[in-house]
């Protein structure tokens, strides 16, 4: 029976072992796990697992896509991200005044970000990233031996998968499947965790639990 690996945190589901703490008997093939079974380590759903290659078979290689040839003008949302990132840079240097000035500029662009879009446009953009954008960027970063970029891409790709899985779950099952769960976001990498308490360390970027912010449900 095939083993499956979680693409978010690297946990291996081994059918020979099952997942007894969640009621999965040993000997249960991955295909027979219930649809609402999630990774016992990070909460990723079944779609975020991939089958491990049988010994001797090559791992599948990711498809690569052409690098964007025609850069468009930078959008307000991109400007906001550049500026809030520079504010974070000053926060790390304990320079609160300069950080506040960058935040002021970032906030200006945040107010200009439109509200066009919905779950479908969100998932379409994520699909674009996950089916080409990340692969192309990984290739460029590898060729340039840019390990900083590789780090950001490794985290970002996993976080994008989790975002897509949250959106997919909501599109399929609606509010009901979120009623009893709390929602946490890792402040260092953006990983979204659904559960009662955040994990001891972030499964994507390995920061401790206190770096998770809970997103409370309003009225």
């Amino acid at each position: 029976m095939k083993r499956y690996r979680c693409t978010i945190c690297g946990y291996d589901y081994d059918p020979a072992v099952g997942d007894p703490s969640h009621g999965i008997a040993l000997g249960t093939p991955f295909e027979d796990l219930p649809g609402d079974w999630v990774c016992p380590v990070c909460g990723a759903d079944k779609t975020l697992f991939h089958a491990l290659a049988e010994p001797g078979l090559p791992e599948e290689t990711p498809v690569s896509a052409a690098i964007d040839a025609q850069p468009a003008a930078i959008s307000d949302a991109e400007k906001a991200a550049i500026l809030s990132n520079l504010a974070r840079g000053y926060q790390k240097q304990f320079r609160a005044d300069e950080a506040a000035l960058f935040t002021q500029l970032a906030d200006y662009y945040v107010t200009r970000i439109g509200h066009e879009g919905d779950v479908d446009s969100f998932r379409a953009a994520l699909k674009d990233d996950l089916s080409g954008g990340y692969a192309a960027a990984f290739e460029a970063a590898r060729k340039s031996s840019d390990r900083g970029a590789l780090r950001a891409l490794t985290w970002g790709e996993k976080v994008s998968r989790i975002q897509d899985s949250v959106l997919g779950r909501w599109a399929d099952k609606g509010d009901s499947s979120f009623e009893d769960t709390k929602v946490f976001v890792c402040d260092a990498c953006g990983f979204i965790f659904l559960g009662q308490t955040p994990p001891d360390i972030c499964p994507v970027c390995k920061v401790p639990a206190f770096k998770f912010n809970e997103v409370k449900r309003g009225a």
Binding site: I67, E78, L86, I113, H115, A137, G156, I192, V215
Partner: protein
């Protein structure tokens, strides 16, 4: 260089109070008094049993260079993250249930972190860099709405 104390790590052993030649470590708010902290001293850093103090430099080396291929590939992703943030904001503004709005908010927070990380690795790591300076200058050159905080941009250019 100035000393900073990480309150989360500080175990209040108070050795830093004894070793500081200027009393900079002894304050009512837990932060080290930068007006008193000496550039060349690191007595409290060495004495702290909890590794809770470090010295933060005034000046930083230039950023690591980025290749055009990396910048272009990161920008493509950044543009997509921009669309995703827009959609996440739409979920919050138009979501017709508390859970829809909560998820929209969590997704926006998540997208912001990934977008900032992409910006950082596309050449905007250090706020004092020539890249950040050029970016601010470009914003000042662009046509802007009345609300644009031009003074903040100018003030930053003065300080960078």
């Amino acid at each position: 260089m100035r000393a900073v104390r990480n309150i989360r790590l500080c175990t209040k052993d108070c050795l830093c109070l004894y070793v500081c030649p200027t009393g900079a470590t002894n304050t009512e708010n837990g932060q080290i008094d930068w007006d008193k902290c000496l550039d060349a001293c690191r007595a409290c850093v060495d004495a702290c049993p909890s590794g809770a103090i470090c010295k933060v430099p005034h000046n930083y080396p230039p950023q690591q260079p980025k290749t055009d291929a990396v910048i272009s590939a990161m920008n493509r992703l950044s543009r997509s993250k921009g669309k995703q943030r827009q959609a996440a904001r739409a979920m919050q503004a138009q979501g017709n249930s508390p859970i829809a709005r909560q998820l929209g908010q969590a997704l926006e927070m998540s997208v912001i972190v990934t977008a900032e990380d992409l910006a950082r690795e596309a050449g905007y790591m250090l706020p004092q860099s020539s890249e950040a300076r050029a970016f601010l200058e470009k914003l000042l050159d662009e046509e802007q709405g009345a609300e644009f905080p031009a003074d903040a941009a100018r003030e930053l250019l003065n300080r960078l």
